[in-house]
């Protein structure tokens, strides 16, 4: 399905992504981990074509993606939804309009200017919001919602695109643990129920372990680990994060449960 070959991105003299190669054969839920600056975001942004690759290729179903321009590129972006850390909604527009933005690739500028979305699309947008449990907020402005709700609106916008791939760039980094769980469970459900490919950048190991079928570790722009969550040992994690022996998985956790775990671990020697 998705094949990335020797993908490289340079910013001036800095190399953000260094000859990354990857093959994903079937829709899966994939987590990319690594510390900040490891090139995770740049990789996703290149997949969505928000960023142009310096060299290398991206192929989806044997179609070259990295060279698309103009309308072809925008059509690909409609097929490959992106969810951002800071939600990137239009704050002063209502929730349903934000979700309807997922159909912009199919609509003319004039139709969107006069808010002429088909009734069927509006109904579908509200159904998607209902599925994510935030239908009652439909007429509110996006800025009036909490972070977790806004992120679910962003997911609804992504679903409205009816995409083949959903990319999520640190979707839970701005959220508290409760909302983080709701958002991650929503992404997992989308993968399981709709069979869509989900690729998420995650900054914590335990989230990747808990929700993903496959984990990819990046360090300094290179892919240094690619395997199942079970194969990801503590030593491997230290390697990915470039940390020493004092590193423990709980220390990076945002899960509520992890607090208990580390409290127990601390309580044992005493």
């Amino acid at each position: 399905m998705l094949r990335i070959t020797q993908l490289t991105k340079n910013f001036g003299r800095n190399t953000a992504v260094d000859a990354a190669s990857l093959h994903i054969g079937a829709p899966a839920m994939i987590g990319i981990i690594g510390r900040s600056g490891a090139g995770k975001s740049t990789l996703l942004r290149m997949l969505n074509r928000l960023e142009d690759a310096t060299s290398g290729s991206i192929q989806f179903n044997d179609r070259e993606i990295s060279g698309l321009t103009g309308a072809d590129k925008r059509a690909w972006q409609a097929d490959c939804a992106m969810i951002f850390q800071q939600f990137n909604l239009v704050p002063r527009m209502d929730v349903v309009s934000n979700v309807l933005h997922g159909t912009l690739n199919r609509r003319s500028t004039l139709a969107t200017l006069f808010n002429l979305y088909p009734t069927a699309d509006i109904h579908r947008a509200i159904d998607i919001l209902d599925r994510l449990g935030i239908a009652e907020h439909a007429p509110k402005r996006a800025e009036a919602l909490s972070g977790g709700q806004q992120q679910r609106v962003a997911i609804a916008r992504a679903l409205m695109q009816d995409p083949k791939i959903i990319l999520a760039d640190e979707p839970i980094a701005s959220l508290d643990p409760m909302n983080a769980q709701v958002v991650m469970e929503a992404l997992r459900r989308i993968h399981e129920e709709d069979g869509r490919m989900v690729i998420a950048n995650l900054h914590t190991l335990d989230t990747a372990r808990r929700y993903c079928d496959r984990v990819i570790g990046m360090r300094a722009g290179r892919i240094v680990f690619d395997g199942t969550p079970e194969q990801l040992t503590t030593d491997m994690a230290r390697e990915i994060y470039g940390a020493d022996a004092s590193f423990s998985e709980e220390a990076t956790s945002t899960e509520i449960g992890a607090l208990d775990r580390s409290a127990k671990a601390a309580a044992v020697p005493a």
């Binding site: 006069f114 808010n115 002429l116 509200i126 239908a135 009652e136 439909a138």
Partner: protein, 296 residues
């Protein structure tokens, strides 16, 4: 059984949300259509009124719109060899024009900063005086530069000083308004922090507000500088010196000095482009620190 009822209630709630949102959308579309109809009607009627009052007639005169540029270009083309000499001749006048604009932008900018601080809620030294400062700025913006310049030329005689005063006066009002809008968006936290250490009003403004608003100030001031270059060129037409005076003489119909007019237009164009480039370069430099932090 209860699950089924719950699912049913859920479905009903969604249907209701759909219905109310559709009603809202229909209302918005209706308003939009009405606005569009009113807008088109006003444009059409306004055009017809203007057309009726026009001395020549819009459609009748439309085909002549290119006559002046064509005459100017063809004459300038014939005397192309004299262009470098013309550019050299009028360069000192251009420098005078730029000087007028620069001095008036500086003076107007300083005055604008002061007035904007006094007229921003949350920052003002005397909060009750805010409306007074605002009206003062309105007055300064309302009086056209050319009126002030004409009065001052009558009093002080022709030359660059009346033009400078006239443009600076207008600039204080214009920049004061723009700066106070920037101030409104500035965070009050640093100001509060400085107040907590016992800083006085001017210290709070200079150290607490200026650093965060400086890039926006600069970008508005540079835009104003561009506008002031044009304003100072226009004031030349009424005898305030600079390149405008030369342009007025060169542009007169039928005396065969269009090559000089073309040279002056070229100088003005290059000047505006040069200051635009300089401005964006300076803005980049000033905001560069912030950009690097964002990327990290």
């Amino acid at each position: 059984m209860s699950e089924m009822t719950a699912a049913h209630a859920q479905g009903a709630a969604t249907a209701q949300i759909r219905e109310s949102y559709m009603a809202q959308t229909r209302r918005k579309r209706l308003y939009g259509t009405m606005m569009l109809v009113v807008f088109v009607a006003l444009m059409a009627s306004g055009f017809m009124t203007a057309e009726a009052r026009n001395a020549g007639g819009f459609w009748g005169g439309l085909h002549q719109i290119g006559d002046f540029p064509a005459a100017l270009l063809s004459e300038a083309g014939e005397k192309l060899s004299e262009l470098p000499a013309n550019l050299v001749t009028y360069f000192p006048a251009l420098v005078e024009t730029i000087n007028i604009a620069a001095v008036s932008t500086l003076i107007g900018g300083v005055g604008g900063i002061l007035l904007s601080m006094l007229a921003t809620r949350g920052l003002a030294l005397w909060p009750r005086m805010i409306p007074v400062w605002r009206r003062l700025m309105d007055v300064m913006r309302a009086v056209p530069e050319i009126v002030i310049a004409l009065v001052l030329i009558f009093v002080l005689g022709g030359g660059p000083v009346p033009a400078m005063i006239a443009i600076a006066f207008h600039t204080v009002g214009a920049l004061g308004k723009l700066f106070s809008e920037v101030n409104e968006n500035a965070s009050l936290k640093p100001v509060e922090g400085l107040a907590s250490v016992g800083a006085n009003w001017s210290q709070r403004m200079i150290l607490g507000v200026m650093p965060s608003v400086a890039p926006n100030y600069l970008s508005y001031a540079l835009l104003r500088f561009e506008i002031n270059i044009r304003a100072s060129a226009i004031l030349g037409f009424v005898g305030a010196g600079g390149i405008g005076y030369e342009l007025k003489n060169a542009m007169a119909w039928g005396i065969g000095r269009y090559d000089e007019a073309a040279a002056i237009f070229l100088l003005l164009f290059v000047t505006i482009v040069a200051f635009d480039q300089l401005g964006s370069h300076l803005r980049d430099r000033l905001t560069h620190g912030r950009k690097e932090e964002l990327l990290a």
